[in-house]
Amino acid sequence: MGEVASFKYVSRKRRVREDRRFVSGQATYVGDVTPPGTRHAAVLTSPYASARIVKIDASEALAMPGVDAVVEGRELAAATDPLLIGVDAPLVKRYPLAVGRARYAGEWVAAVVAETRALAEDAREKIRVAYEELPFVLDAEAAYQPSSVPVHPEHGSNVLLDRPFVWGEVDATFAAAPHKLAYRVKWGRSATVPIETFGVVASWDPWREMLDVWASIQMPKFADQIARALRMPMNQVRVHQDVDVGGSYGVKRGIKHTVLAGFLSRKLGAPVKLIEDRLENMRGGDMHGPERTFDVELAFDGTGLVHAMRMRAIDNVGAYAGRSPLQLGKPVGAIVGPYRIEAVAYHAIAVTSNKTPQEAVRGFGQAPTNYAIETGLDRVAETLALDRLEVRRRNFIRADEFPYLIPSGTTYDSGDYHAVVAKTVKHVDWDALVAERDKLRAGGHLAGVGVASCLEPSGANSSFEPLLNPKNTTTTWMESCRIMVDALGAVTLTIHTTSAGQGHETLAATAAGEALDIDPDRMRVVRATSLESLPSNSPVGSRMAIMLGGAAYRAGQKLRDKLVAIAAHQWGMPAAQLHYRNGGAEDPATGRALEWPDLILIAHRHYHLMPPDMEPGLAVSHVLQVPTGGGLPSPDGRIQMYPCFSFEFHVVLVSIDPEIGRPHIHRYVVGHDCGTVINPDIVRGMTLGGIAHGLGAALLEEFAFDGEGQLLTQSFMDYLLPSAHEVPEVEIVHHVTPSPHTVFGQKGSGESGYLGAPAAISSAINDAVRPLGIRFEALPIRISAIGDAIARAKGLP
């Protein structure tokens, strides 16, 4: 699909059908699921960053009325297998409860189950744990040293991943380059922190030998991992995917919670409900995001063209790892951003420390990497006294160069970065914006314009798995949709995943409707449990528009083909000669037609009229493999990663009262190209929400630890989420460069805004403070830091 096609339903305004149940308070979140006989769990956490668990005395707790059980790590570890880790580090074992030692403050040491949550908390207080404090390490560089205290002595060091990549003639290009610069930036530990914490209800039925699971989950292969850990066949686990998830943005992987709840349920023979409270979530829910330091060198020429980049990225993943170290691998698929950098050396390091473990966060490492790259482009411009927009324009891959192969082996599908920038610059009236900045400066403020141009890789061909762990040769990344037309002619789609507000029901119906030429609002969409599910990989990696949209469309096509074949068979004609419209088929030569009700009747009831060997009824499905997927990395670490690349270009005007140091955003404009948009309201919501997340990461949010490994930001009083006051009005400038890989030309947009906003806001603040010789090189950039830096620069106390 090269040209921008016109669609009947795709790209049109359509209400998101899911909204109805949310605005009426009739959604079903995991907190609303309480099977008869449910018992409630609470967890006891380690107060120390590193300690041997000497003794756990639960006798007083167990004696309390209404208390069912107290479980600690050894009992759990004897009955379950360790949770999966994404890199090759089998001796870094992780169980839901600490086994013998606690490795971070907040680690779950014991679980209490009681009649009510309040009673479980009462009982928890009566559990006596004797600890012997041990040495700990908190800093990533310190943890990286061979002499460092290892968080997992069995593993031998804190290094989970230490992989250098060299793509192209990096050293030679650096040697020959007229200009070089080097810088360091730090992405502070934050996360997308949903308003709903993680929760799970697990219910073991010994009579049916079934473990029913309801969870606030966003996790590929969730049922697999539960089954593995609990040593059960996967078809004894039934995950109910019609649970509404109150936001996830990557983090709700919930394996440890679910394995724990599943174990408890089996032990007690009753449903067990574990809902994190906010304190449990922040400290021990293991949902922190990247904490990454980048050391970058750029080799460039006098016109500002960047020819080579060296990037060292070290991430402090915390005391355990699931998928989190893989967040160093995903950016490989867009390591040069939107630029024609010819040679790249990338050194990815992930280390353990005695901090809360990380989990996947929106973008899976791309937002920090974009921040690092965009900082460099601004520096190149500064060094050469060139305009920042012009430097980017010169470095952009050009529209006529797509598909474009980047040094690390991924081919970008399509794009027109120059057009998006031109449109945005025109909309914002760049010269007027700069003049406004200068006027603010003349009025005594500091003021700056920030820009960031970034890619949003989408589609989740997650080949960073085999790239970073050669023992994992997974290349299947799939999504499914089933369509059934019932005997009375109503259409029902089945999708096979949970959702957290992305509007997947509406998305699937729209795609199917487009294929079937039927109003999507007439279709019902239901969710299967994991037992009835076709293969699905969950909404991760900004994939569902591509994958679910694609699967639903293909299934729709199959259904349409079947209907046409039935009609063709009635008239003894080749199907290709018929015209399908509005659910019916017409013979253009004669005008005779069979409409939807006629065809349904034949399919369901008139076997004697069916084409030979056609299955009765109208049920079709499609399992879609990710476009461009199926490959394994080359020995030098080159691989095709995600299939589709959306583009965003942010422009921000910021002013700062120099005495106070608080940045105020005057204007925020983003140019956004995610190919064909399936539902405009959904995409807009993603971009606006992503920018709010990015603003939080840039200015407000941090999981900060003290010198003893205690989390300082344990509640919402100290971990500051942006409110409606902090998020500015955002203008979106839209552009469409379709993808050749997808059914409508759509690309993903689930991470949009977040991938570029931190870079753009940092760029704006740095533009504002540059006249004072100040530079901020770490996020978040707090008001106090800005105020103090300004005072220092001016020689004030």
Binding site: E18, F22, R278, M717, E729
Partner: protein, 163 residues
């Protein structure tokens, strides 16, 4: 301890521990699960209900404190089974939500605003929802929903309070 509550226009007698928050009482005892727990320490606003028509955080009230007040939850806003109010419908029209978790609290805060201020400015709307955190939408489409509802209520000649 017995408490008599007035919820969504109906009397409800409950027997709860004094330590039970109004939030937990609404959800667990009265089965009104549209009010949500986000933080249980009074910051996120997901637990927002109306107390005598004004927004209050139900996680910061004990059930035993709530007698003698008119309590309104999200379930009390729908006009009937399957029927959305103008305000609820406006949220659907602008897609002023995604995951829906903050939405009941957001809508109740907006309802209280529109009852008091039928022609709110953008600043009024932002101030009214500033105590309700949303992680999905970035607030843009929420503000638009409330503005749309205000406009529709005005032009439909509906008295505020009857939304």
């Amino acid at each position: 301890m017995r408490v008599e509550l007035q919820v969504n226009g109906r009397r409800a007698e409950v027997d709860v521990e004094p330590r039970c928050t109004l939030l937990d009482c609404l959800r667990d005892t009265l089965g009104l699960e549209g009010t949500h727990a986000g933080c249980e320490h009074g910051v996120c606003g997901a637990c927002t209900i109306l107390v005598d028509g004004e927004p209050a955080r139900s996680c910061l009230m004990l059930a035993v404190q709530a007698d003698g007040h008119e309590l309104t939850t999200i379930e009390g806003l729908s006009l009937g089974p399957g029927e959305l109010s103008v305000l609820q419908d406006a949220f659907c029209e602008t897609h002023g939500l995604q995951c829906g978790y903050c939405t009941p609290g957001m809508i109740l805060a907006a309802h209280a605003l529109l009852a008091r201020t039928p022609q709110p400015t953008r600043a009024d709307i932002v101030e009214a929802i500033s105590g309700n955190l949303c992680r999905c939408t970035g607030y843009g489409q929420i503000v638009e929903a409330i503005a749309l509802a205000a406009e529709r209520l005005r032009s439909a000649n509906i008295k505020t309070g009857e939304t």
